[in-house]
Amino acid sequence: MSALDVARLALEAAGGEAEAVAHSERSGLARFAGSEVHQPTLIENVVVTLRVVRGNRVGVATTNKVGDEGLAELVGRAATAAESAPPDESFPGLAPPTRPPDAGGYDEATAALGPDEQARLAAAAIDAAGEIPVYGFFTSAVSELSVASSTGLGVEQRMTDATALVVAAGEGCSGYAERTAWRAEDIDPGAVTREASEKAERTRGAATVDPGVYAAVLEPYAFADLLDYFSHDSLGALGVLEKRSYLSGRLGDAVVDEKITIRDDPVDTHGLPKAFDFEGTPKQPVTLVEHGVARGVVWDRTTAARAQNGATTTGHAGPVESRDWGPLPYCLSVAPGDAESVDELAERVGDGIYITRLHYLGVIDPREGVVTGMTRDGTFRIRDGKIAEPLVNLRFTVSVPDMLRDVYGLTRAASLVNSQNFYGERYPYGVLAPALATARFNITGVGSTPGI
């Protein structure tokens, strides 16, 4: 039974004005540590969320019991919720019928991968390790999202995704690499391990630096992570409406370097394409920042209705568990630059710091886009335009817009960096980002040496 079949059954059980979102997952994740698989997890699930509408009262219920009895209970709970809710005059109604484009993002061979193949691909990552042990996982999944509603809407998308992630780590050394794609054949787990291991070898004997503002090169892993955190408060409409977004009151202003263009590009097949959102609205590409000028944010039906400024949905409603954030850009993409490599970016920096990956980010001041965190698994000094000696993990506290205000360049090539940590139901998304060279990256503390 497809996800759309499940959604239609739920809708049929509901009878009246309603919307059903069905989300299925079949995944395998072979997690390894110390070069052996220690947490292999196979998941099969389908979850249906029913939104029942009574006038302008709305109630929501969710279940993974998709038989007749389970769906009847679902309808009962959603109806009770709707009847208990006060009227919501700003409820925008359910999305109209639509026919979203075929966005792609599905690969039959990836969907067919089973536990034996998933374990074999994890083994390929493990076997490529040298003397430094490796920690990480290989995972692949097929997921389906469908939305059906009493307006006649009925849309579905099948998605595949795969990720190989490796931390090569020993006493006093660690390196990181990751590859994500919707086609597993685009991922070479052995190559991921070799990249992480080569990086780890170079981190032995890490030195410290004094806190202060440095020029820096950020690999795509680090840049994507910062952007993802920044986007939650600043690149969605709810953040603007609630005045915690950096873009509140700044739309139309030049906010960062003119080399920076950021879009949400749901149909770019270099990313993890999405055809429609969790309200069933086709996703539109949205230019967020264009040559340094703040152009817009992403919207869903709820925020567009509440704004009362002529805004319309751009198709960015998220899963129910993420609705606290409002609409979010799930297909962030940063326009590449003209540098051939990270080495060329280091040349442009001259003297500074090279950062592979970040850890445990925390937003200190959403209004100014201030984020803190640690560097991890490959931090180096840049001297005389060359990537030089390794550094210990460093604490940084940066305003993301300030970091992007004076940019030396970006690489010509961009990488797809996985942004999901596989909590809840699987919804593959990531950031397509090049490496970045910035004039300002604020180091505010010194941490431990790399490695285990």
């Binding site: 698989v37 915690r244 803190t372």
Partner: protein, 477 residues
């Protein structure tokens, strides 16, 4: 449900598993949240299924099935064995021996949270929401939640335990903005409010509508407050922030799976080594930390963990010395100490991991005023706002929603954007007082992340205000 677990174990052992356990979990979650006078979210979720964990030739395998049917149980068991056989590596895993237990446990609940109508929950939220209104307040949010988790665990060693755990929780956030300054104030805690393994009496006791005017007043005052200055000074933390400090800088680093590196690819490792047990100086003599899954009303309370190990109170730090780790049966066998008891899974479709249960800092003596009286010039910080710590849990930077300067033992002007930073053992070494039992409170948080695929754990921390000397505060971007 018990029969399905038994079937899964039979199938797994017949397929060659030397050990198997099967958990059936049926979970219901209810959430009502209001924002600015309207219902923002009202959801009622159910999830059920069976998860089967096996050891085949020393390799773990885990698979799950949402169908609570004979076919679902068999399917999960067979797939778990298939994945275990395919797992790469040199496996030789041992489990610390435990006596197979049979039993049943249910949370103590005075008023069933699911018997409280949704309409009453909406009304409670809207009353508190209205009481949050005030000048410069731009976002008012109130939420209440409830969970019931019914789970049965059987193992091939004879474990057969059934538990019904019920949670209730509530909280509110109030955001104010003025002249480009955005500030947030929360009650009773910042992390989706606070929850307890209890009935609706816990939510009633929070008196949200009564607390709301103070919360709104402080949010509005914060947008006019001066930023926290930078410098090295004495700091007094409220119980909420101490709870967060315990969670991040003691709870996670004492998880023995992190010590052995099995979280290296995501949550990180630990600055602790197995050989540090019994000798490492973690902090000052005022630091006493206890893991206690028997704590009444704790979110991490149970009779048996998800390996069937009975709940037991364990000292983790005594008078500043590391004396215990949080363990599974596997990690306990590896270190040769303890017998597990901290394994918890996020529902039926996740593998159990070493998790915090309830981790407390034991109370000292005196009151918050007594702690303040001992500071000539310093900062008092209240309610966590931001948190970040490195992969070994050494270098941290935390921020609070509100602060006040302390001058000559008394609170002075209000400060915003307060942060402090430190290195874990040095910071805990600077602890010179913890307030007494009367100031000790239990906080329940529901967003502790770990594992790949990700798992959220619900844990509680008992904490009292505490004083730290010579702390770096006010880190600037």
């Amino acid at each position: 449900m018990r029969e399905l677990c038994a079937t899964a174990i039979d199938v797994a052992t017949a397929a060659g598993a030397e050990y198997a356990d099967a958990r059936v979990v049926v979970k219901r979650d209810q959430l009502v949240a209001t924002k600015n006078g309207r219902v923002d979210r009202m959801t009622d979720s159910e999830s059920e299924g069976i998860g089967v964990r096996v050891l085949v030739n020393g390799a773990w395998g885990f698979a799950c099935d949402r169908r609570l049917t004979d076919e679902g149980a068999r399917n999960a068991a067979q797939r778990a064995c298939t994945f275990a056989r395919a797992a790469a590596g040199r496996h030789s895993r041992a489990l610390a021996p435990v006596e197979a237990r049979q039993g049943r446990h249910e949370s103590a609940v005075e008023r069933d949270p699911f018997a409280v109508s949704l309409a009453d929950k909406v009304d409670l939220c809207l009353r508190a929401d209205a009481a949050l209104e005030g000048g410069d307040v731009i976002v008012r949010q109130v939420m209440v939640r409830a969970r019931r988790e019914h789970k049965i665990l059987l193992s091939s060693e004879g474990t057969d335990v059934e538990q019904i755990l019920t949670e209730s929780g509530a909280g509110m956030d109030c955001a104010a903005a003025r002249d480009g300054v955005f500030q947030l104030r929360s009650y009773p805690s910042a992390h989706v409010g606070s929850s307890s393994q209890a009935g609706w009496e816990y939510v009633d006791g929070l008196r949200l509508a009564d607390e709301a005017p103070r919360v709104a007043e402080q949010a509005a005052a914060l947008v006019r407050a001066d930023p926290c200055p930078s410098g090295i000074t004495d700091v007094v933390l409220d119980a909420d922030q101490v709870a967060l400090q315990v969670h991040e800088s003691v709870g996670h680093p004492t998880e023995l799976d992190r010590v052995y590196g099995t979280e290296a690819s995501y949550a990180g490792t630990s600055f602790l080594k197995p050989g540090d047990l019994g000798s490492l100086k973690y902090g000052s003599e005022h630091m006493n930390i206890t893991a206690d899954p028997t704590t009444p009303s704790g979110l991490g309370s149970f009779a048996f963990d998800d390996e069937g190990v009975p709940a037991k109170r364990t000292p983790v730090v005594e008078r500043g010395c590391l004396t215990g780790f949080l363990t599974s049966r596997e990690t306990a066998a590896r270190i040769g100490a303890g017998g597990g008891g901290s394994m918890r899974a996020d529902g039926w479709n996740r593998m159990p991991l070493v998790r915090m249960t309830n981790l407390h800092i034991e109370p000292g003596e005196g009151t918050l005023d007594d702690l303040l009286a001992g500071v000539d010039d310093g900062i008092y910080m209240e309610t966590n706002r931001s948190w970040s710590i490195d992969d070994k849990r050494l270098n941290f930077q935390f921020g609070t929603q509100i602060a006040w300067e302390i001058k000559h033992g008394k609170l002075g002007r209000m400060l915003r954007d307060a942060t402090y930073t430190g290195i874990t053992p040095e910071f805990w070494g600077s602890l010179d007082a913890v307030a007494g039992r009367d100031a000790w409170q239990l906080y329940g948080l529901t967003n502790c992340g770990k594992g790949q695929p990700g798992q959220s754990a619900h844990v509680s921390h008992g904490a009292a205000p505490a004083r730290f000397r010579k702390v770096q505060v006010g880190v600037k971007s």
